[in-house]
Protein backbone atom coordinates (compact mmCIF):
# COMPACT_ATOMS: atom_id res chain seq x y z
CA UNK A 1 0.00 0.00 0.00
CA UNK A 2 1.25 3.43 -0.93
CA UNK A 3 1.50 5.85 2.00
CA UNK A 4 -0.86 8.81 2.23
CA UNK A 5 1.61 11.13 3.88
CA UNK A 6 5.40 11.33 3.92
CA UNK A 7 7.22 12.88 6.84
CA UNK A 8 10.67 14.26 6.15
CA UNK A 9 12.67 14.73 9.34
CA UNK A 10 16.24 15.98 9.55
CA UNK A 11 17.50 14.21 12.69
CA UNK A 12 17.02 10.85 14.32
CA UNK A 13 16.43 12.70 17.56
CA UNK A 14 13.39 14.44 16.05
CA UNK A 15 12.19 11.27 14.37
CA UNK A 16 12.22 9.20 17.56
CA UNK A 17 9.25 10.86 19.32
CA UNK A 18 7.32 11.01 16.04
CA UNK A 19 7.82 7.32 15.35
CA UNK A 20 6.46 6.55 18.82
CA UNK A 21 3.64 9.07 18.61
CA UNK A 22 2.47 7.94 15.17
CA UNK A 23 3.00 4.27 15.85
CA UNK A 24 5.47 3.51 13.07
CA UNK A 25 8.16 0.88 12.73
CA UNK A 26 11.48 0.93 10.94
CA UNK A 27 11.55 -0.77 7.55
CA UNK A 28 15.00 0.19 6.27
CA UNK A 29 18.17 1.20 8.04
CA UNK A 30 19.88 3.18 5.28
CA UNK A 31 18.26 5.55 4.68
CA UNK A 32 16.26 5.25 7.90
CA UNK A 33 12.64 4.83 6.82
CA UNK A 34 9.67 4.06 9.06
CA UNK A 35 6.12 3.06 8.13
CA UNK A 36 2.80 2.71 9.87
CA UNK A 37 -0.85 3.74 9.64
CA UNK A 38 -0.65 5.14 6.12
CA UNK A 39 2.41 7.22 7.00
CA UNK A 40 6.03 6.99 5.93
CA UNK A 41 8.89 8.78 7.64
CA UNK A 42 12.40 9.32 6.38
CA UNK A 43 15.35 10.73 8.30
CA UNK A 44 17.01 12.97 5.75
CA UNK A 45 20.03 14.37 7.53
CA UNK A 46 20.75 18.04 8.10
CA UNK A 47 20.48 20.69 5.39
CA UNK A 48 18.26 21.55 2.47
CA UNK A 49 20.20 19.42 0.01
CA UNK A 50 19.58 16.28 2.06
CA UNK A 51 15.93 17.17 2.60
CA UNK A 52 15.57 17.45 -1.15
CA UNK A 53 17.36 14.14 -1.70
CA UNK A 54 15.12 12.44 0.84
CA UNK A 55 11.97 13.69 -0.92
CA UNK A 56 13.23 12.50 -4.27
CA UNK A 57 14.21 9.15 -2.83
CA UNK A 58 10.73 8.55 -1.41
CA UNK A 59 9.11 9.77 -4.61
CA UNK A 60 11.13 7.25 -6.59
CA UNK A 61 9.90 4.50 -4.30
CA UNK A 62 6.29 5.46 -5.01
CA UNK A 63 4.01 4.51 -7.87
CA UNK A 64 3.89 7.31 -10.42
CA UNK A 65 0.13 7.72 -10.09
CA UNK A 66 0.00 7.72 -6.31
CA UNK A 67 -0.93 10.99 -4.63
CA UNK A 68 0.87 11.65 -1.39
CA UNK A 69 1.01 14.57 1.00
CA UNK A 70 4.34 15.76 2.36
CA UNK A 71 5.16 17.17 5.77
CA UNK A 72 8.47 18.37 7.11
CA UNK A 73 8.62 18.54 10.90
CA UNK A 74 11.56 19.76 12.92
CA UNK A 75 12.96 22.17 15.42
CA UNK A 76 13.75 25.76 14.48
CA UNK A 77 15.18 28.92 15.97
CA UNK A 78 13.30 32.20 16.21
CA UNK A 79 14.19 35.72 17.25
CA UNK A 80 11.26 36.21 19.63
CA UNK A 81 8.93 33.21 19.77
CA UNK A 82 9.00 31.25 23.02
CA UNK A 83 10.55 27.81 23.18
CA UNK A 84 8.03 25.11 22.44
CA UNK A 85 5.84 27.32 20.22
CA UNK A 86 4.74 25.52 17.03
CA UNK A 87 4.85 27.37 13.72
CA UNK A 88 3.40 26.29 10.40
CA UNK A 89 5.38 27.97 7.62
CA UNK A 90 3.38 30.20 5.28
CA UNK A 91 6.48 31.55 3.56
CA UNK A 92 9.82 29.81 3.23
CA UNK A 93 12.85 31.80 2.12
CA UNK A 94 16.10 30.34 0.91
CA UNK A 95 18.43 32.71 2.72
CA UNK A 96 21.36 32.11 0.38
CA UNK A 97 19.46 33.00 -2.82
CA UNK A 98 16.59 35.11 -1.46
CA UNK A 99 14.08 32.95 -3.31
CA UNK A 100 10.74 32.50 -1.53
CA UNK A 101 8.07 29.82 -1.74
CA UNK A 102 4.60 29.89 -0.20
CA UNK A 103 2.92 26.82 1.31
CA UNK A 104 -0.85 27.14 0.83
CA UNK A 105 -2.59 28.42 3.97
CA UNK A 106 -5.25 25.73 4.01
CA UNK A 107 -4.71 24.02 7.35
CA UNK A 108 -6.65 25.10 10.41
CA UNK A 109 -3.55 25.87 12.47
CA UNK A 110 -3.41 29.47 13.69
CA UNK A 111 0.28 29.72 14.60
CA UNK A 112 1.73 30.50 11.20
CA UNK A 113 4.74 32.48 10.08
CA UNK A 114 7.79 33.04 7.95
CA UNK A 115 10.63 30.54 7.94
CA UNK A 116 14.14 31.11 6.59
CA UNK A 117 16.19 28.14 5.52
CA UNK A 118 19.86 28.79 6.18
CA UNK A 119 23.00 26.90 5.16
CA UNK A 120 24.77 27.23 8.51
CA UNK A 121 23.14 27.19 11.96
CA UNK A 122 21.83 30.69 12.72
CA UNK A 123 22.74 32.02 16.13
CA UNK A 124 22.14 35.74 15.60
CA UNK A 125 18.40 35.56 14.66
CA UNK A 126 18.69 38.81 12.65
CA UNK A 127 15.01 38.91 11.62
CA UNK A 128 11.82 38.17 13.48
CA UNK A 129 11.27 34.89 11.64
CA UNK A 130 11.96 31.21 12.24
CA UNK A 131 15.24 29.63 11.08
CA UNK A 132 15.81 26.07 9.95
CA UNK A 133 18.08 24.25 7.53
CA UNK A 134 15.75 22.00 5.50
CA UNK A 135 12.30 23.42 4.71
CA UNK A 136 13.15 25.23 1.47
CA UNK A 137 14.81 22.20 -0.15
CA UNK A 138 12.02 19.99 1.11
CA UNK A 139 9.24 22.22 -0.24
CA UNK A 140 10.77 22.77 -3.66
CA UNK A 141 11.35 19.06 -4.14
CA UNK A 142 8.00 17.86 -2.79
CA UNK A 143 6.01 20.29 -4.97
CA UNK A 144 7.42 18.48 -8.00
CA UNK A 145 5.62 15.33 -6.89
CA UNK A 146 2.22 16.57 -5.79
CA UNK A 147 -0.16 19.52 -5.73
CA UNK A 148 1.42 22.27 -3.66
CA UNK A 149 -1.49 22.44 -1.20
CA UNK A 150 -0.35 19.05 0.05
CA UNK A 151 3.15 20.19 1.05
CA UNK A 152 3.64 21.78 4.47
CA UNK A 153 6.37 22.46 6.98
CA UNK A 154 5.79 22.47 10.74
CA UNK A 155 8.44 23.77 13.10
CA UNK A 156 8.76 23.72 16.87
CA UNK A 157 10.79 26.55 18.32
CA UNK A 158 13.83 25.15 20.09
CA UNK A 159 16.02 28.23 20.46
CA UNK A 160 15.77 32.00 20.43
CA UNK A 161 17.74 35.08 21.39
CA UNK A 162 17.35 34.31 25.08
CA UNK A 163 18.04 30.55 24.79
CA UNK A 164 20.64 29.85 22.14
CA UNK A 165 20.93 26.65 20.10
CA UNK A 166 23.88 25.53 22.25
CA UNK A 167 21.39 24.82 25.05
CA UNK A 168 19.42 22.25 23.03
CA UNK A 169 19.84 18.78 24.50
CA UNK A 170 18.39 15.43 23.38
CA UNK A 171 16.02 15.49 26.33
CA UNK A 172 14.91 18.99 25.45
CA UNK A 173 14.06 17.89 21.90
CA UNK A 174 11.98 15.01 23.23
CA UNK A 175 10.20 17.38 25.56
CA UNK A 176 9.46 19.88 22.77
CA UNK A 177 7.91 17.18 20.62
CA UNK A 178 6.06 15.70 23.56
CA UNK A 179 4.54 19.09 24.41
CA UNK A 180 3.34 19.47 20.84
CA UNK A 181 1.77 16.05 20.47
CA UNK A 182 -1.71 17.46 19.80
CA UNK A 183 -0.47 20.00 17.28
CA UNK A 184 1.47 17.37 15.35
CA UNK A 185 -1.46 14.97 15.35
CA UNK A 186 -3.82 17.71 14.15
CA UNK A 187 -1.55 18.84 11.32
CA UNK A 188 -1.04 15.23 10.20
CA UNK A 189 -4.80 14.60 10.29
CA UNK A 190 -5.65 17.86 8.48
CA UNK A 191 -3.13 17.21 5.78
CA UNK A 192 -4.40 13.67 5.29
CA UNK A 193 -7.93 14.92 5.03
CA UNK A 194 -6.89 17.56 2.48
CA UNK A 195 -5.23 14.82 0.48
CA UNK A 196 -8.43 12.79 0.77
CA UNK A 197 -10.42 15.62 -0.79
CA UNK A 198 -7.83 16.03 -3.50
CA UNK A 199 -7.76 12.37 -4.37
CA UNK A 200 -11.55 12.09 -4.61
CA UNK A 201 -11.37 13.86 -7.96
CA UNK A 202 -8.65 11.54 -9.21
CA UNK A 203 -10.03 8.15 -8.31
CA UNK A 204 -10.88 5.83 -11.14
CA UNK A 205 -14.32 4.31 -11.10
CA UNK A 206 -14.44 0.54 -10.39
CA UNK A 207 -15.93 0.03 -13.84
CA UNK A 208 -12.92 1.64 -15.48
CA UNK A 209 -10.60 -0.62 -13.53
CA UNK A 210 -12.60 -3.63 -14.77
CA UNK A 211 -12.59 -2.47 -18.37
CA UNK A 212 -8.86 -1.83 -18.27
CA UNK A 213 -8.35 -5.45 -17.25
CA UNK A 214 -10.70 -6.83 -19.91
CA UNK A 215 -10.24 -4.76 -23.03
CA UNK A 216 -7.09 -3.55 -24.73
CA UNK A 217 -7.31 0.24 -24.94
CA UNK A 218 -5.04 2.70 -26.68
CA UNK A 219 -3.87 5.72 -24.66
CA UNK A 220 -6.58 7.90 -26.21
CA UNK A 221 -9.25 5.28 -25.61
CA UNK A 222 -8.19 5.00 -21.97
CA UNK A 223 -8.79 8.71 -21.52
CA UNK A 224 -12.15 8.46 -23.28
CA UNK A 225 -13.34 5.39 -21.37
CA UNK A 226 -12.16 6.81 -18.05
CA UNK A 227 -14.19 9.96 -18.62
CA UNK A 228 -17.20 8.05 -19.94
CA UNK A 229 -17.27 5.96 -16.76
CA UNK A 230 -17.02 9.13 -14.67
CA UNK A 231 -19.95 10.57 -16.58
CA UNK A 232 -22.12 7.53 -15.79
CA UNK A 233 -21.27 8.07 -12.14
CA UNK A 234 -21.96 11.80 -12.36
CA UNK A 235 -25.46 11.01 -13.62
CA UNK A 236 -25.91 8.30 -11.00
CA UNK A 237 -26.50 5.65 -13.66
CA UNK A 238 -23.54 3.42 -12.90
CA UNK A 239 -25.88 0.43 -12.58
CA UNK A 240 -26.67 0.64 -16.26
CA UNK A 241 -22.96 0.85 -16.95
CA UNK A 242 -22.35 -2.25 -14.85
CA UNK A 243 -25.11 -4.04 -16.76
CA UNK A 244 -23.59 -3.11 -20.08
CA UNK A 245 -20.19 -4.32 -18.95
CA UNK A 246 -21.67 -7.51 -17.59
CA UNK A 247 -22.99 -8.60 -20.94
CA UNK A 248 -20.82 -11.35 -22.38
CA UNK A 249 -20.73 -9.85 -25.85
CA UNK A 250 -18.93 -6.78 -24.58
CA UNK A 251 -16.04 -8.77 -23.27
CA UNK A 252 -14.91 -9.52 -26.78
CA UNK A 253 -15.21 -6.03 -28.19
CA UNK A 254 -12.44 -3.77 -29.38
CA UNK A 255 -11.58 -0.55 -27.62
CA UNK A 256 -13.22 1.42 -30.40
CA UNK A 257 -16.46 -0.50 -30.20
CA UNK A 258 -16.47 -0.17 -26.46
CA UNK A 259 -16.13 3.62 -26.61
CA UNK A 260 -18.98 3.72 -29.12
CA UNK A 261 -21.26 1.52 -26.98
CA UNK A 262 -20.56 3.47 -23.81
CA UNK A 263 -21.22 6.75 -25.56
CA UNK A 264 -24.37 5.47 -27.23
CA UNK A 265 -25.93 4.21 -24.02
CA UNK A 266 -25.00 7.41 -22.22
CA UNK A 267 -26.70 9.50 -24.90
CA UNK A 268 -29.84 7.42 -24.55
CA UNK A 269 -29.86 7.73 -20.78
CA UNK A 270 -28.75 11.38 -20.38
Amino acid sequence: MEPELNLVIAHKLEAKPLVALLDMRQITKQPPIYRGGGLRLIVSGQGRHWAQEAVNFLAQQSHISSVQAWLNIGIAGHQTLELGQPLLANKIVNRSSGEAVYPAPLLAMKQVGELHTVDEPESGYPQNVAYDMEAFGFFKAACKHTSLELVQSLKIISDNLAHGADKITPDKVLELFHDNTDVIKTVVADLRSLRGRFIETRLDTPEFARISALVHLTATQRVQVRRLCQRYHAFGIQEQLAELLGSKALQAVSGRELVRSLRQLLLELE
Binding site: N90, K91, A100, Y102, A104, P105, L106, V112, G113, E114, C143, K144, T146, S147, L148, E149, L194, R197, F198, E200, T201, R227, Q230, R231, H233, A234, F235, G236, L266, L267, E270
Partner: protein
Amino acid sequence: MFSSIYIEEAVRDSERVEAILRRVPGIPQIAIQQYGEVFNRAGQNFRLQKQQPALILAHKSGRRVLPTPEGYGFESGSTGKGFYFSHMLNCVYDCRYCFLQGMFRSANYVLFINFEDFEQDIEATIAESSADSVFYSGYDCDSLALEPISAFCEYFLPCFQRHPEHFLEIRTKSTQIRFLLEHEPLANCVIAMSFSPQIQSERWEHQVPSIAKRLEALVRLQNAGWPVALRFEPVIAQTNTLSLYKELFEIVFAQLQTERVHSVSLGEFRLPVDYYKKIVKLYPEEPLLARETRLEDGMISLVQQQGSLLQDLETMLLAYVAPESYYRCA
Protein backbone atom coordinates in the same frame (compact mmCIF):
# COMPACT_ATOMS: atom_id res chain seq x y z
CA MET B 1 -13.21 35.44 5.50
CA PHE B 2 -9.71 34.98 4.00
CA SER B 3 -7.26 32.31 5.08
CA SER B 4 -4.38 34.80 4.72
CA ILE B 5 -3.55 38.08 3.06
CA TYR B 6 -0.62 38.23 0.69
CA ILE B 7 0.69 41.74 0.17
CA GLU B 8 3.09 42.88 -2.52
CA GLU B 9 5.97 44.73 -0.88
CA ALA B 10 5.58 47.62 -3.32
CA VAL B 11 2.04 48.39 -2.16
CA ARG B 12 2.45 47.53 1.53
CA ASP B 13 2.62 51.14 2.67
CA SER B 14 -0.18 52.50 0.53
CA GLU B 15 -3.12 54.09 2.28
CA ARG B 16 -5.57 51.83 0.48
CA VAL B 17 -3.80 48.71 1.70
CA GLU B 18 -3.76 50.09 5.24
CA ALA B 19 -7.49 50.77 5.00
CA ILE B 20 -8.23 47.29 3.65
CA LEU B 21 -6.18 45.66 6.40
CA ARG B 22 -8.09 47.64 9.02
CA ARG B 23 -11.34 46.24 7.59
CA VAL B 24 -10.14 42.63 7.96
CA PRO B 25 -8.12 42.46 11.18
CA GLY B 26 -6.53 39.37 12.64
CA ILE B 27 -5.70 37.60 9.39
CA PRO B 28 -2.11 36.39 8.85
CA GLN B 29 -0.24 38.65 6.45
CA ILE B 30 2.44 37.39 4.10
CA ALA B 31 4.83 39.66 2.21
CA ILE B 32 5.37 38.82 -1.46
CA GLN B 33 7.27 40.45 -4.31
CA GLN B 34 4.81 40.00 -7.11
CA TYR B 35 1.33 38.48 -7.07
CA GLY B 36 2.17 36.03 -9.86
CA GLU B 37 4.52 34.09 -7.58
CA VAL B 38 1.47 32.95 -5.61
CA PHE B 39 -1.34 33.27 -8.12
CA ASN B 40 0.23 31.91 -11.31
CA ARG B 41 2.29 29.06 -9.90
CA ALA B 42 2.06 25.70 -11.61
CA GLY B 43 0.84 22.69 -9.63
CA GLN B 44 -1.99 24.37 -7.73
CA ASN B 45 -5.48 23.02 -7.21
CA PHE B 46 -8.30 25.53 -7.66
CA ARG B 47 -10.86 23.30 -5.96
CA LEU B 48 -8.85 22.80 -2.77
CA GLN B 49 -8.02 26.49 -2.55
CA LYS B 50 -11.64 27.46 -3.10
CA GLN B 51 -12.43 26.04 0.33
CA GLN B 52 -10.36 28.77 1.99
CA PRO B 53 -9.13 31.36 -0.45
CA ALA B 54 -6.56 33.96 0.48
CA LEU B 55 -6.63 37.61 -0.54
CA ILE B 56 -3.74 39.00 -2.56
CA LEU B 57 -3.22 42.76 -2.58
CA ALA B 58 -1.26 43.74 -5.64
CA HIS B 59 -0.35 46.36 -8.19
CA LYS B 60 -1.66 45.95 -11.72
CA SER B 61 0.81 46.96 -14.39
CA GLY B 62 0.50 46.61 -18.15
CA ARG B 63 -2.77 47.15 -19.95
CA ARG B 64 -5.57 47.83 -17.53
CA VAL B 65 -8.44 48.69 -19.89
CA LEU B 66 -9.13 46.30 -22.74
CA PRO B 67 -11.72 46.05 -25.49
CA THR B 68 -14.50 43.54 -24.81
CA PRO B 69 -15.01 40.63 -27.19
CA GLU B 70 -17.46 41.27 -30.01
CA GLY B 71 -21.09 41.19 -28.88
CA TYR B 72 -20.25 41.13 -25.17
CA GLY B 73 -22.67 43.72 -23.92
CA PHE B 74 -25.25 46.37 -24.60
CA GLU B 75 -22.86 48.65 -26.53
CA SER B 76 -23.40 46.34 -29.51
CA GLY B 77 -26.69 48.10 -30.23
CA SER B 78 -25.15 51.57 -30.14
CA THR B 79 -22.29 53.52 -31.66
CA GLY B 80 -20.15 53.19 -28.55
CA LYS B 81 -17.46 50.64 -27.87
CA GLY B 82 -17.15 48.13 -25.05
CA PHE B 83 -14.19 47.95 -22.67
CA TYR B 84 -13.47 46.01 -19.54
CA PHE B 85 -11.15 46.42 -16.63
CA SER B 86 -10.41 43.96 -13.88
CA HIS B 87 -9.53 45.51 -10.57
CA MET B 88 -10.03 42.03 -9.14
CA LEU B 89 -9.39 38.45 -10.26
CA ASN B 90 -11.66 35.68 -8.99
CA CYS B 91 -14.93 35.74 -7.19
CA VAL B 92 -16.18 35.13 -3.68
CA TYR B 93 -18.98 32.96 -5.05
CA ASP B 94 -18.56 29.48 -6.46
CA CYS B 95 -20.75 28.90 -9.49
CA ARG B 96 -20.05 25.53 -10.97
CA TYR B 97 -20.44 26.85 -14.51
CA CYS B 98 -18.06 29.77 -13.98
CA PHE B 99 -15.24 30.17 -16.49
CA LEU B 100 -12.91 31.62 -13.86
CA GLN B 101 -12.33 28.09 -12.51
CA GLY B 102 -10.81 27.18 -15.84
CA MET B 103 -9.05 30.47 -16.47
CA PHE B 104 -7.02 30.84 -13.29
CA ARG B 105 -4.68 28.37 -11.63
CA SER B 106 -5.46 29.69 -8.17
CA ALA B 107 -8.74 30.34 -6.38
CA ASN B 108 -7.20 33.12 -4.30
CA TYR B 109 -8.63 36.58 -4.85
CA VAL B 110 -6.33 39.20 -6.35
CA LEU B 111 -7.33 42.77 -5.59
CA PHE B 112 -5.38 45.35 -7.55
CA ILE B 113 -5.17 48.39 -5.38
CA ASN B 114 -3.76 50.99 -7.79
CA PHE B 115 -7.23 52.33 -8.54
CA GLU B 116 -5.68 55.65 -9.59
CA ASP B 117 -3.89 53.95 -12.51
CA PHE B 118 -7.10 52.23 -13.58
CA GLU B 119 -8.87 55.58 -13.44
CA GLN B 120 -6.15 57.22 -15.51
CA ASP B 121 -6.44 54.49 -18.14
CA ILE B 122 -10.22 54.79 -18.17
CA GLU B 123 -9.86 58.56 -18.65
CA ALA B 124 -7.40 58.00 -21.49
CA THR B 125 -9.73 55.49 -23.14
CA ILE B 126 -12.66 57.87 -22.78
CA ALA B 127 -10.61 60.67 -24.34
CA GLU B 128 -10.10 58.50 -27.42
CA SER B 129 -13.64 57.14 -27.61
CA SER B 130 -16.90 58.38 -29.00
CA ALA B 131 -19.80 58.79 -26.59
CA ASP B 132 -21.79 55.80 -25.37
CA SER B 133 -18.79 53.64 -24.61
CA VAL B 134 -19.42 51.03 -21.95
CA PHE B 135 -16.91 50.00 -19.29
CA TYR B 136 -17.51 46.62 -17.69
CA SER B 137 -16.09 46.05 -14.25
CA GLY B 138 -17.27 42.56 -13.43
CA TYR B 139 -15.42 40.62 -16.10
CA ASP B 140 -12.99 38.55 -14.04
CA CYS B 141 -14.77 38.88 -10.70
CA ASP B 142 -18.00 40.00 -9.06
CA SER B 143 -17.45 43.72 -8.62
CA LEU B 144 -19.86 44.33 -5.79
CA ALA B 145 -19.33 41.28 -3.63
CA LEU B 146 -16.17 42.62 -2.00
CA GLU B 147 -17.31 46.25 -1.84
CA PRO B 148 -17.17 46.51 1.97
CA ILE B 149 -13.47 45.64 1.78
CA SER B 150 -12.36 47.01 -1.58
CA ALA B 151 -14.42 50.23 -1.67
CA PHE B 152 -14.33 49.84 -5.44
CA CYS B 153 -17.59 51.71 -6.16
CA GLU B 154 -16.71 54.42 -3.73
CA TYR B 155 -13.64 55.18 -5.82
CA PHE B 156 -14.89 54.64 -9.37
CA LEU B 157 -18.36 56.18 -9.32
CA PRO B 158 -17.03 59.78 -9.20
CA CYS B 159 -15.00 59.05 -12.34
CA PHE B 160 -18.13 58.11 -14.26
CA GLN B 161 -20.04 60.95 -12.65
CA ARG B 162 -17.65 63.25 -14.53
CA HIS B 163 -18.38 61.42 -17.80
CA PRO B 164 -22.15 61.06 -18.04
CA GLU B 165 -21.88 60.27 -21.75
CA HIS B 166 -20.16 56.94 -20.99
CA PHE B 167 -21.45 53.95 -19.08
CA LEU B 168 -20.18 51.77 -16.30
CA GLU B 169 -21.77 48.36 -15.91
CA ILE B 170 -21.29 46.74 -12.54
CA ARG B 171 -22.15 43.12 -13.13
CA THR B 172 -22.90 41.18 -9.99
CA LYS B 173 -24.80 38.54 -8.07
CA SER B 174 -24.16 40.32 -4.81
CA THR B 175 -26.46 42.14 -2.45
CA GLN B 176 -23.72 44.44 -1.07
CA ILE B 177 -25.56 47.59 -2.06
CA ARG B 178 -25.22 49.72 1.04
CA PHE B 179 -22.72 52.13 -0.51
CA LEU B 180 -24.80 52.51 -3.66
CA LEU B 181 -27.89 53.32 -1.62
CA GLU B 182 -25.97 56.00 0.24
CA HIS B 183 -24.71 57.51 -3.03
CA GLU B 184 -26.80 59.64 -5.35
CA PRO B 185 -27.86 57.50 -8.32
CA LEU B 186 -25.98 57.95 -11.58
CA ALA B 187 -27.88 57.51 -14.82
CA ASN B 188 -24.79 56.09 -16.54
CA CYS B 189 -23.88 53.50 -13.89
CA VAL B 190 -25.86 50.34 -14.43
CA ILE B 191 -26.13 47.63 -11.82
CA ALA B 192 -26.58 44.42 -13.80
CA MET B 193 -27.76 41.44 -11.77
CA SER B 194 -27.46 37.91 -13.13
CA PHE B 195 -30.19 35.33 -12.61
CA SER B 196 -30.74 31.67 -13.37
CA PRO B 197 -33.90 29.71 -12.61
CA GLN B 198 -34.37 28.76 -8.97
CA ILE B 199 -33.54 25.10 -9.30
CA GLN B 200 -30.38 25.82 -11.28
CA SER B 201 -29.30 28.52 -8.90
CA GLU B 202 -29.67 26.15 -5.96
CA ARG B 203 -27.75 23.46 -7.78
CA TRP B 204 -24.87 25.42 -9.25
CA GLU B 205 -24.56 28.87 -7.71
CA HIS B 206 -22.85 28.01 -4.44
CA GLN B 207 -22.70 30.78 -1.83
CA VAL B 208 -24.59 33.15 -4.10
CA PRO B 209 -27.42 35.09 -2.39
CA SER B 210 -30.86 33.64 -3.14
CA ILE B 211 -32.90 34.92 -6.06
CA ALA B 212 -35.28 36.56 -3.60
CA LYS B 213 -32.43 38.45 -1.89
CA ARG B 214 -30.87 39.54 -5.18
CA LEU B 215 -34.22 40.71 -6.46
CA GLU B 216 -34.88 42.59 -3.26
CA ALA B 217 -31.52 44.36 -3.66
CA LEU B 218 -32.33 45.24 -7.24
CA VAL B 219 -35.74 46.61 -6.30
CA ARG B 220 -34.17 48.79 -3.61
CA LEU B 221 -31.62 50.09 -6.09
CA GLN B 222 -34.28 50.80 -8.65
CA ASN B 223 -36.42 52.60 -6.08
CA ALA B 224 -33.39 54.67 -5.15
CA GLY B 225 -33.08 55.74 -8.78
CA TRP B 226 -30.24 53.51 -10.00
CA PRO B 227 -30.48 52.04 -13.49
CA VAL B 228 -30.70 48.29 -13.10
CA ALA B 229 -30.24 45.59 -15.70
CA LEU B 230 -31.02 41.91 -15.91
CA ARG B 231 -28.63 39.29 -17.16
CA PHE B 232 -30.18 35.86 -17.68
CA GLU B 233 -26.91 34.05 -18.13
CA PRO B 234 -25.83 31.40 -18.58
CA VAL B 235 -28.88 29.72 -20.06
CA ILE B 236 -28.45 26.01 -19.38
CA ALA B 237 -30.92 23.77 -21.13
CA GLN B 238 -32.72 21.01 -19.31
CA THR B 239 -35.98 19.22 -20.02
CA ASN B 240 -38.27 21.92 -18.66
CA THR B 241 -36.15 24.98 -19.32
CA LEU B 242 -38.95 27.11 -20.73
CA SER B 243 -41.22 26.62 -17.76
CA LEU B 244 -38.33 27.33 -15.36
CA TYR B 245 -37.65 30.62 -17.13
CA LYS B 246 -41.34 31.43 -17.36
CA GLU B 247 -41.50 31.18 -13.59
CA LEU B 248 -38.29 33.21 -13.16
CA PHE B 249 -39.46 35.98 -15.51
CA GLU B 250 -42.80 36.17 -13.72
CA ILE B 251 -41.11 36.60 -10.35
CA VAL B 252 -38.53 39.11 -11.58
CA PHE B 253 -40.80 41.30 -13.67
CA ALA B 254 -43.55 41.32 -11.07
CA GLN B 255 -41.23 43.11 -8.69
CA LEU B 256 -39.29 45.51 -10.89
CA GLN B 257 -40.61 48.53 -12.75
CA THR B 258 -40.11 46.88 -16.08
CA GLU B 259 -40.23 50.04 -18.18
CA ARG B 260 -37.33 51.43 -16.14
CA VAL B 261 -35.10 48.39 -16.52
CA HIS B 262 -32.01 49.57 -18.40
CA SER B 263 -31.38 46.42 -20.41
CA VAL B 264 -32.02 42.70 -20.43
CA SER B 265 -29.85 40.02 -21.94
CA LEU B 266 -29.70 36.31 -22.53
CA GLY B 267 -26.54 34.31 -23.05
CA GLU B 268 -26.04 30.62 -23.44
CA PHE B 269 -23.65 28.41 -21.51
CA ARG B 270 -20.41 28.39 -23.45
CA LEU B 271 -16.82 27.92 -22.38
CA PRO B 272 -13.48 27.98 -24.17
CA VAL B 273 -12.52 24.34 -24.60
CA ASP B 274 -9.33 24.61 -22.54
CA TYR B 275 -11.20 26.12 -19.59
CA TYR B 276 -13.87 23.46 -19.90
CA LYS B 277 -11.29 20.65 -19.78
CA LYS B 278 -9.70 22.12 -16.67
CA ILE B 279 -13.04 22.47 -14.92
CA VAL B 280 -13.97 18.87 -15.77
CA LYS B 281 -10.72 17.74 -14.12
CA LEU B 282 -11.58 19.74 -11.02
CA TYR B 283 -15.17 18.47 -10.79
CA PRO B 284 -15.40 15.14 -12.63
CA GLU B 285 -18.47 14.17 -10.60
CA GLU B 286 -20.51 17.25 -11.60
CA PRO B 287 -23.51 16.24 -13.76
CA LEU B 288 -23.53 19.58 -15.60
CA LEU B 289 -20.02 18.89 -16.84
CA ALA B 290 -20.86 15.29 -17.68
CA ARG B 291 -23.40 16.29 -20.29
CA GLU B 292 -22.88 15.79 -23.99
CA THR B 293 -21.10 18.78 -25.48
CA ARG B 294 -20.34 20.23 -28.84
CA LEU B 295 -17.13 21.98 -29.87
CA GLU B 296 -17.33 24.86 -32.30
CA ASP B 297 -14.69 27.52 -32.92
CA GLY B 298 -12.85 26.57 -29.77
CA MET B 299 -15.95 26.92 -27.62
CA ILE B 300 -17.81 24.14 -25.82
CA SER B 301 -21.58 24.26 -25.51
CA LEU B 302 -24.18 21.69 -24.47
CA VAL B 303 -25.66 19.57 -27.21
CA GLN B 304 -29.09 19.85 -25.61
CA GLN B 305 -28.71 23.62 -25.88
CA GLN B 306 -29.07 23.62 -29.64
CA GLY B 307 -32.32 24.37 -31.40
CA SER B 308 -34.70 27.18 -30.74
CA LEU B 309 -34.34 27.51 -26.96
CA LEU B 310 -32.81 30.99 -26.96
CA GLN B 311 -35.33 32.19 -29.52
CA ASP B 312 -38.18 30.84 -27.42
CA LEU B 313 -36.78 32.56 -24.36
CA GLU B 314 -36.41 35.78 -26.33
CA THR B 315 -40.02 35.59 -27.32
CA MET B 316 -40.99 35.14 -23.70
CA LEU B 317 -38.78 38.03 -22.61
CA LEU B 318 -40.07 40.39 -25.24
CA ALA B 319 -43.50 40.07 -23.70
CA TYR B 320 -42.02 41.99 -20.77
CA VAL B 321 -39.40 44.32 -22.26
CA ALA B 322 -39.08 46.49 -25.33
CA PRO B 323 -36.90 45.03 -28.11
CA GLU B 324 -34.51 48.01 -27.91
CA SER B 325 -33.58 47.18 -24.33
CA TYR B 326 -32.88 43.54 -25.13
CA TYR B 327 -29.68 42.00 -26.47
CA ARG B 328 -28.30 38.53 -26.83
CA CYS B 329 -24.84 38.08 -25.39
CA ALA B 330 -22.50 36.48 -27.91
